[in-house]
Every structure is written in structure tokens, then in C-alpha cells.
């Protein structure tokens, strides 16, 4: 099931929260777990078993890994302790191989066909749990219900954020659902719904339009408009989902980490990926980059580590070649940016002030480079990708091009793109913080919520379905 569907908004959401609110405290985790499994099964009954098996096995792996203090207390210095330590390493390796293997199998070997819903997210969440337990950062969870509820929790099961267990372990045992938390959570959920339905799905139509026309035959400005439209679409889609997840979690009394921090306001590609899908970046940083040595073993090693991280990030998004290309492209940009920064730190040209005066330049750089890299992400066919990038760069077209095709697109979608741009700045967030509890905000948000529901009723899950020809 997805959040922006009639089934979720009109049935699941109210039914779950009423039932959940009436449930006595000690059964709340059970209800959450059961509801999450129902939520998952309604979307993908086939892989429910895989999810359950994965959670159960990893729970016991976690308990074994977490028994280290116990063995240390009792058997330190004896052979039993060192045998345990060896077994511990082996079990961890086995668990990593198993979890990553399943993910790899579905992503790469099966080319992403029949991908179990949310497998990339829950696998990473499980791995983060195991690593944290192994390193002794958190104790292993004793209750299977709690581990299962943590992994399968429906707000974040399908598309993140990737929550570390340490962030919610306290709330797993003790959390408060109040009128206030429900109200604030619902508002956040509404904002996310608006981002998804009223912005992402709308600008997505422009991106669709460009492809319907045939990417061989679009003018260079239209190719850029299409890339910008896709950039907004993927951002508001994902950001909207993260906000909805935060809102739903907040309603129950969880605090999920923030996943996006105005990425399009970044001043470099490095900066962009510190603001984009933060919980995934954090995962790769904590569990791949830093264990490899991070940036402390010289520039060459840093570049190698970054390459590994970005190649894996590409693979995580999908098994086909274009995702690898996307990751490598970002790696190249990030390495160049690092070198430029190091150079400038050593040889300050005009001092700090000159860069502060040119504040717009880094933004323009990001706005030019990021849509370009997104195209590598969006177009899975490498031949088509090269055509599209060629059109963006103004290469000689292979087919007839209408030089003015972008005017009509700008005329139709200009307003929407402007709204999307404004929503990408911190403005809305600031306004929301300031006026969250005013009557005006309440009325506007409630109206927007139902406008979204109405749009979904009209269009179904797919905004292109009722598209006129």
C-alpha cells in the first residue's frame, strides 16, 4: 500500500489510529506490528514471508551479537570467550552476506524485476541495527516484537527514512500519543501529501510530456525543462514520502530523523548529498566510508573510499548500468570539488570575501549539474540516456526538432515550476514553524489535505491515467 492512495487515506489511516489509540499501552507494539504487516501484505503479499523470515533471523543474530558483555563478564580470559568472539565475527559476516546477498539477488541478478517492496530500506535498517549491536553502540533488543515493529513499522517500511535503532529504542518501550502529537503529526503528513500529490505528480506530467514527444526530437531548452521537472518530481516525491513518514511516526510518539534539508539550496554536490536522503548518506558514511578509513589516510585513499561508497550508492538504487554511471559521475564531481577546496584552502584567492560575494555562482553550478546527473538516474536505457544528455548539451539532433517547443511547455508549467522552486527554499519551512498553530494554517492545511484526496479520487494512483490525448 502507498500513502497517497484512497485505501490508505480513507480506510487504513483513520482505522489504524483509532484502534491504536484505544489499545492499552503494553499492546501498542503488537498492534503496530500487526498493522504494519497488513499494510505490507496489502501491497505485496508475495514477499511478506521473506520480510518475516528476515526480521526473525536477524533478531536472533542480533541477540547473539549482543551477548558479548555477558560472555565477557563470565568467561573473560578463558577459551570460551575467544571462541565466542570468533563465532561472533563469523555470524556477523554470515548475516551481512545473507542480507546483502538477498538485496543483490533482487537488484542486480534479477535486474530489479519483481523487487520486494521496501527491501532496500529494510535491509539497510536491519544491517544498521546489527552493526550497532556488534560495535556495542546499542544493546541487542530482547523482544522480537520490538525488533519486528522497528523494522516493519509502516510509516518508514517502504521508502525510509532509514532509522537507526538507537534513535527509537527508547520510544519502542515508552512513547506518548497525545492529541498534540496527533495534531502535529497529521499536519506534517498533510505537508508531505501536498508535496507528493500537488507538486511531484503535477511536474511529473511535464517530464512525461517530454518523453512522449520523443527525446530525440526535443529542443535543448525543452531538454533542460524536462530535466528540471524531473529534478523537482523526484525531490517532492521522496521528500513528501519522508514528511508523511515523519508525520505518521510523530502521531504515535516516535521521532524520526530528518531526511531532507532543502537540497536544492546546496552550494556544491558534496553539500547536496549532505542534504539529500540524509539517512542513506549517514548509513554509507557510518558503515562503509568510516570503517574504510574515511578521509584520514591521504587523498588517494579518500578518493578510493568515496568511489566505493558512490558505486555502492548507485547499485543500491538499482542494478542497471545507468545507476552505476550516476554514482560514478557524482564521485568524479565530488572528488574534483574536494581538490578545488583543498587548493583554495592552500592558496586563498582574494580571501574568503570573494566567495561570499559570489553567492549565486555555487547555486548556479548546483542547479546546472544536479538536473544533469538526475537524467542518468531517470533514463535506464544507456543509448537513450546519451541521446538525452546530447540534447541537453546541444548536440546535433538526429531528428526534426521544433525550436520553439519549450515555449508552450513553459507557458503551461511555468507557474508550477515557480511554486516548486519556492517550495524548495527554506521559506515554507520557516513559515510553517512560525505559523503552525494559527487558525489560518489549520484551515489551509485541512483544505489542502482534502484537495489531495480529491485529486487521488479523480486520477487514481497514476496521474497519467486520466491524461487526455
Amino acid at each position: 500500500m502507498v500513502f497517497c492512495s484512497i485505501e490508505f487515506l480513507l480506510y487504513f489511516l483513520p482505522a489504524f489510529f483509532i484502534f491504536y489509540a484505544l489499545t492499552p499501552k503494553r499492546f501498542k507494539n503488537v498492534v503496530l506490528l500487526a498493522a504494519s504487516l497488513v499494510f505490507y501484505a496489502l501491497g505485496e503479499p508475495r514477499y511478506l514471508f521473506l520480510l518475516l523470515a528476515s526480521v526473525t533471523v536477524n533478531h536472533f543474530v542480533g541477540r547473539f551479537l549482543g551477548a558479548e558483555p555477558y560472555y565477557k563478564d563470565r568467561y573473560q580470559g578463558t577459551g570460551k570467550y575467544s571462541t565466542y568472539l570468533e563465532w561472533r565475527k563469523g555470524v556477523l559476516l554470515f548475516a551481512i552476506t545473507g542480507n546483502v546477498g538477498i538485496l543483490f539477488l533482487f537488484k542486480v541478478a534479477m535486474r530489479g524485476e519483481a523487487l520486494p517492496l521496501g527491501v532496500s530500506f529494510y535491509t539497510f535498517q536491519i544491517l544498521s541495527y546489527l552493526f550497532d549491536v556488534y560495535q556495542g553502540i546499542i544493546p541487542a533488543e530482547r523482544s522480537l516484537i520490538k525488533t519486528a515493529a522497528y523494522v516493519t513499522m509502516f510509516p518508514q517500511l517502504i521508502s525510509g527514512p532509514i532509522v537507526n535503532y538507537g534513535e527509537v529504542s527508547a520510544a519502542m518501550s515508552e512513547r506518548r500519543m497525545s492529541w498534540q502529537s496527533v495534531q502535529n503529526g497529521l499536519k506534517l503528513f498533510t505537508l508531505g501529501l501536498v508535496a507528493k500529490v500537488l507538486i511531484a505528480d503535477r511536474v511529473g506530467i511535464l517530464w512525461n510530456d517530454v518523453q512522449v514527444r520523443g527525446i530525440e526530437s526535443i529542443s535543448t531548452p525543452l531538454a533542460w525543462l524536462g530535466a528540471i521537472a524531473y529534478s523537482f518530481k523526484i525531490y517532492f516525491d521522496f521528500y513528501g514520502y519522508s514528511l508523511m513518514a515523519m508525520g505518521l511516526g510523530g502521531m504515535m510518539g516516535f521521532r524520526f530523523p530528518e531526511n531532507f534539508r532543502n537540497p536544492y539550496m546546496a552550494v556544491s554536490v558534496r553539500d547536496f548529498y549532505r542534504r539529500w536522503h540524509i539517512t542513506l548518506g549517514r548509513w554509507f558514511c557510518n558503515y562503509i566510508y568510516i570503517p574504510l578509513g574515511g578521509n584520514r589516510r591521504g587523498e588517494l585513499c579518500t578518493a578510493r573510499n568515496l568511489l566505493i561508497v558512490w558505486a555502492l550508492t548507485g547499485l543500491w538504487h538499482g542494478g542497471s548500468g545507468n545507476f552505476l554511471l550516476w554514482g560514478i559521475l557524482l564521485w568524479v564531481l565530488i572528488v574534483i570539488e574536494r581538490q578545488i577546496k583543498i587548493f583554495l584552502d592552500r592558496h586563498p584567492i582574494g580571501g574568503e570575501s570573494i566567495w561570499k560575494q559570489m553567492r549565486l555562482v555555487p547555486h548556479l553550478y548546483v542547479w546546472a549539474v544536479i538536473p544533469f546527473t538526475w537524467m542518468c538516474f531517470a533514463i535506464t536505457d544507456v543509448r537513450e540516456l546519451s541521446v538525452y544528455l546530447g540534447r541537453m548539451l546541444g548536440a546535433v539532433p538526429q531528428s526534426a526538432v521544433q525550436p520553439n517547443d519549450w515555449r508552450a511547455a513553459l507557458h503551461t508549467y511555468g507557474g508550477l515550476l515557480a511554486v516548486a522552486f519556492i517550495a524548495s527554499t527554506p521559506l515554507i519551512r520557516r513559515l510553517y514553524r512560525r505559523w503552525r498553530d494559527s487558525a489560518f494554517t489549520n484551515v489551509i492545511l485541512a483544505a489542502l489535505f482534502w484537495i489531495c484526496v480529491w485529486r487521488i479520487m479523480v486520477e487514481g494512483d497514476n496521474p497519467f491515467l486520466y491524461f487526455k490525448f
Binding site: L10, Q183, V212, R213, E216, A400, D405, W454, F464, K468
Partner: protein, 334 residues
């Protein structure tokens, strides 16, 4: 009388104002009664009731009940708008009989109104009277006195067919047979207001009319009702453009994948409609062009490589369609 009347009005005004004020006070009173941590939830529920009532969204809650207890709730007002359209999807079983009737009916009507200009004569009835013709291949200038009428696919022809400065195009995305007469889509040079296709056709005479329409109607009505509307529209065009050759282009098929997607657009539905359209051709001044020959594979569906969404030709494949039209220009044999 006058004085009394204005006083009455004043009183009425006064009462009106107080009513509104009362209403505002009442709402404010309610608002203040709601605890601040429940305000959003309350507004959301109130708006929800309004929204579900206005859009007929209650059906999402009622339908499951209705299905369960159909016997008891049969009296409830019928709110099924969506499913009705689905029913419009053409069923081949009943289609056979409908198809034969449909083109005949409008022709009967027209025969009553205007027996002299009946374009719907059955070609089988009077083969001798028909001027024989053949298809010839022509150059772009053939289209100089032509008009293309159609939906977004014809818009594609306008944008990428290279005929922008040669032919007239009365085409717009989402155009349907009925909208020909109501939607103001044709730009008039020097005028801000657009006019309908009908108005445009009565203002200017053409020698050739290329007509392709129908994909947008797939979701509403039946093939029968569509063909009836379609025949009427051809009739109207005939009346307004008595000297033009009318090319009825078959509705372009979609890809097999798009057809199997499970909504109202299916190649079977298109094929049935095209058969009906083909029967409207008298091969005298009205001709049927099966453009699908140019863009479809052996399975009768649009070739997948030619399109992104399964419905519209990509710009670079528009010439296939255009070349088909160029090689199918009617020449009368002397």
C-alpha cells in the same frame, strides 16, 4: 407603497446581516470550545464531510457495504460515475449487431432532412454510380488546401509533420467529436477569441479534410454511441464543406502493452470503431484511410519503438504517418 417596500427591504437586509453575524458568532463560539490541540483534527473532519459529500466520495465507504447488503440498500441514490464509464468499454459479443445498425441510423435521419446531400449511401447499393478512383502519391503542396482535424495525435502531426505553414490545423489535445462543436480551439489571426471547429469550417472552404478523432471517447459511452456521434459530425462537416474530399483516418491503434493495461483503451475497442468509421466512406467524396498500416506491426498494434506512452507517435515517427497520407491521395479516374 414605495416607502413600505424599501422599509421591508431594509428590514430584510438587517435581518440578513444579523443572521450572518450570528453565524460568525456561533462559529467563533464553537471554535473557542474546541481544545487547541484538537483544532486541526476537527477542521479536517468537517472538511472531510464537505469534500466527500461534494465529490460523491462517500461511495468509497458505502460501496463495500452496498456490495455486502445489496438487497437492503438498493434504494440509495446511485453514485457510480466511474464504473459507468467502465461499462462503456466495448464488448465484442454485443458489438456485432450494434455495429451494423449504427451507421445506418444517422443516414436515415439525414435522408429525411436533406435527401439530396446524403453522404451515407451504401457503396454496395450503387456501385455503377460511383466514380472510380485510385490512390496516388503526392508532394507536400497537395496539403496546401487541406485541413487536419483531430486530437493530440493530430497536434503531433502539426508540430512535427512539417506542414505548419502549408495546411490548416484544427487540432487540440483532448478533442472529442462533441467538442468539435463546443470547444473554442481554433485561433483566428488577429483575434484574441478562439472559435470552434464548426465556426472555423463554415468560415473557410477547404479541398481536403483529414479527420482523425475518437481515442478520447473510448472511456465514455459505447462504440455505438460514438459511431453515431461520429457519423453526425461527418454529416455536419459535409454540409459545411460540400466540395471537399473528406479523408476519414482510422483511429490509430495503441501498443499491445498499452492495450493490455486494463483500462478503457483497448485495440479491440479501436478496431470496432474503425470498422464503423470505414463503413461511413462512400468512396466518392468520403474515403477511409487505414493509417494503422503505416504504424502497426503484424499483430495490429502500434509498434512499441515508435512511442513512449503507447498512444502517441514519437516526433521522429510522425513522417511515417505523413508519408502514408502522401501516398494515399485520391485521384479520380476519368
Amino acid at each position: 407603497m414605495r416607502v413600505g417596500g424599501s422599509r421591508l427591504r431594509r428590514q430584510r437586509n438587517r435581518r440578513k446581516i444579523t443572521k450572518i453575524e450570528k453565524c460568525i458568532l456561533w462559529i467563533r463560539g464553537l471554535w473557542e470550545k474546541i481544545p487547541p490541540d484538537r483544532i486541526y483534527l476537527t477542521i479536517l473532519l468537517v472538511f472531510g464531510v464537505v469534500c466527500l459529500t461534494a465529490t460523491g466520495g462517500w461511495k468509497y465507504y458505502l460501496d463495500p457495504f452496498r456490495e455486502g447488503m445489496e438487497m437492503f440498500v438498493r434504494d440509495l441514490p446511485d453514485q457510480e460515475e466511474g464504473p459507468d464509464e467502465r461499462q462503456g468499454e466495448y464488448q465484442t459479443g454485443t458489438g456485432e449487431s450494434q455495429r451494423k445498425e449504427t451507421p445506418a441510423r444517422p443516414s436515415e435521419e439525414s435522408a429525411k432532412q436533406d435527401p439530396g446531400q446524403d453522404p451515407e449511401r451504401d457503396p454496395e447499393q450503387d456501385p455503377e454510380e460511383t466514380r472510380s478512383f485510385s490512390f496516388d502519391t503526392v508532394e507536400d503542396d497537395y496539403f496546401a488546401d487541406a485541413v487536419f482535424i483531430g486530437d493530440s495525435r493530430t497536434v503531433g502531426m502539426y508540430e512535427y509533420g512539417g506542414l505548419q505553414d502549408i495546411s490548416a490545423f484544427y487540432a487540440s489535445t483532448g478533442l472529442t467529436v462533441r467538442k468539435l462543436f463546443t470547444a473554442k480551439i481554433v485561433e483566428v489571426p488577429g483575434e484574441r477569441q478562439k472559435i470552434t471547429v464548426e465556426e472555423a469550417l463554415s468560415a473557410r472552404q477547404f479541398a481536403k479534410i483529414y479527420y482523425m478523432i475518437g481515442i478520447n471517447e473510448m472511456g465514455t459511452g459505447t462504440a455505438e454511441s460514438f459511431l453515431q456521434d461520429y457519423a453526425e459530425s461527418v454529416e455536419r462537416i459535409r454540409q459545411m464543406q460540400p466540395d471537399a474530399i473528406i479523408y476519414l483516418q482510422g483511429i490509430m491503434q495503441v501498443t499491445a502493452e498499452r492495450s493490455a493495461q486494463g483500462d478503457y483503451i483497448t485495440n479491440e475497442g479501436i478496431a470496432v470503431r474503425n470498422e464503423g468509421i470505414a463503413e461511413l466512406a462512400d468512396n466518392e467524396t468520403i474515403f477511409y484511410l487505414d493509417v494503422n498500416e503505416a504504424v502497426c506491426g503484424e499483430d495490429g498494434a502500434m509498434i512499441a519503438d515508435y512511442t513512449y506512452d503507447g498512444v502517441h507517435l514519437k516526433a521522429q515517427y510522425i513522417p511515417l504517418w505523413k508519408d502514408y497520407l502522401k501516398s494515399h491521395a485520391v485521384v479520380y479516374d476519368q
